[in-house]
Subunit: 230 residues, 2 copies
C-alpha cells in the first residue's frame, strides 16, 4: 500500500459530501490517499485503530477470522463505502481485517481528525449513525439466517443481495466477481458445500456462472429459497 499523490474527486466519501463547507479545507489538508494492489491488507484484526478509510476505487472484503484458515466475510465494500468504522467505540483495535479484492485507492483520515469532524459536523454524525443503524439491521437478519436458514437458502439470499447491491455489469453478470471460497466465507459455509449448492442451482437453472462471474436466471425461484417467515 503506497501513497497516492493524485487525490480524489472530493465528492465520493461521506466526509467530503456531508461536512460544512467551512470544514472542507481542513478535510483537504488532513486527508491522505493510498493505492493498494490485489490482496493488500488495509488493516488487520487486532491492529490498533489509527484511522478511518473510505474506498475511492476498487473492491474490498472485510472479514473476521477463526482458528487460522477459517473466516467469515462480514461485508463487501466498493467505491464510496466506509471501511474501518468498526474500530470506533471500543477497544481501539480493529475487530476485522480489510483486504483488497482488486487494485484499489482509499481515502484515509486519522482517527483524531475524524472524531473532530464528527464533533463539528452534525450532518455527518447523523448519517454515520444511520449507517450504523442500517448495518446493524442487516447483520441481525444475516445472523438469524445463519442460525436457521439452510446453506442453499443463504446462498440464494447472498446472490440476490449482491445483485441488488452491485447490479449487473455490461455483460449481464453481477458486478462483483467472487471466488467460490469468498462466496463460502460470506455465507458462513465451507468451500465444498457452497460449491455443491452452487452447482445444484446451476443444474436447476436458477443461476449461470462464468468463472467468478455469476448471473441470476430465475430470480423468482431464488426468492422462494429465501422465504421470509411471515
Amino acid at each position: 500500500m503506497k501513497k497516492n499523490k493524485q487525490g480524489c474527486d472530493r465528492q465520493t466519501c461521506l466526509v467530503c459530501r456531508l461536512c460544512l463547507k467551512e470544514w472542507l479545507p481542513a478535510v483537504q489538508t488532513q486527508k491522505k490517499h493510498f493505492d493498494c494492489k490485489k490482496g493488500d491488507v488495509l488493516f488487520r484484526e487486532g491492529d490498533p485503530v489509527t484511522g478511518i478509510y473510505f474506498l475511492y476505487k476498487g473492491k474490498v472484503k472485510v472479514h473476521k477470522h477463526w482458528d487460522d484458515g477459517k473466516e467469515l466475510i462480514v461485508r463487501f465494500a466498493r467505491e464510496g463505502d466506509i471501511v474501518g468504522h468498526r474500530g470506533i467505540g471500543t477497544d481501539m483495535v480493529y475487530p476485522v481485517t480489510a483486504t483488497a479484492l482488486e487494485p484499489a485507492t482509499v481515502c484515509y483520515f486519522e482517527l483524531d481528525f475524524f472524531n473532530a469532524s464528527l464533533k463539528v459536523n452534525h450532518e455527518l454524525l447523523y448519517e454515520l449513525m444511520l449507517f450504523y443503524a442500517r448495518e446493524l439491521q442487516e447483520f441481525e437478519k444475516r445472523m438469524r439466517n445463519l442460525a436457521h436458514m439452510p446453506v442453499k437458502g443463504r446462498l440464494a439470499n447472498a446472490l440476490l443481495t449482491l445483485k441488488e447491491k452491485f447490479g449487473y455489469d455490461k455483460d449481464g453478470f453481477i458486478a462483483f466477481p467472487l471466488s467460490r471460497q469468498d462466496l463460502a466465507s460470506y455465507i458462513g459455509a465451507t468451500y465444498e458445500t457452497t460449491f455443491r449448492m452452487l452447482n445444484a442451482m446451476i443444474e436447476e437453472n436458477l443461476v449461470a456462472v462464468s468463472g467468478r462471474y455469476i448471473t441470476l436466471t430465475n430470480e423468482e425461484k431464488l426468492h422462494l429459497l429465501r422465504k421470509e417467515p411471515f
Copy 2:
C-alpha cells in the same frame, strides 16, 4: 401494557442523561411511561415504527422470528437500555419483536420527538452512534461464532457474556434468569442440544444451575471453550 402515571427518576435513560438542560422540559412533556407484565409485547416484528423505548425497570428480550416457532434472541435488555432503536433508519418497521421477561416499566418517545432530540442534542446523537458501533461489533463477533464455533463454545461464551453484563445477584447466580428455551434461542441452537450441552457442563463442574438461575463455577475452563482464534 398500560399507562403509568408515576413516571421515572429522570436520570435513567440516555435522553434524560445527555440532553441539554434547555431541552429537558420538552423531554418531560413528551415522555410517556408504560407498565407491562411478563410476556407483554412492546412491539412486534413488522409493526410500523412509532417510537423508541427505554427500559426503566425490568428485563426484555429482543428477538427475530423464523418459520413460526423458531426464533433468534438478538439481545437482552435491562434497566436503562434502549429498545426499539433498530427501527431507525430504514423501512420504518421494527425488524424485531420486544417481549417483557418480567414485569417492566418503560419510557417511550414518539419517533418525531426522538429525532428532533437527536438534531438538537449533539451529545445524545454521538452516544447513540457509539452505541450502535459497539452493538455492531458485538454482532459481528456473534455472527462469526455462529458460523464457526460449536454449540458448546457458544453456550460457554453466552454464559460468560451474561455474567459480565449482568453480574451476580445476592445468591451468587447470574442476575438474569433464563429458560432453557431462551438460552437456546440466544445461542442459535435447538432447545434439546442446548439442554444436553448445559447438562454436560454441569457434569464437568463448569456451571451450576438452580432452576432458571445459573452460576459459573469454573470460569477458566469456560474461557478455554470460547478460545479466540489468536
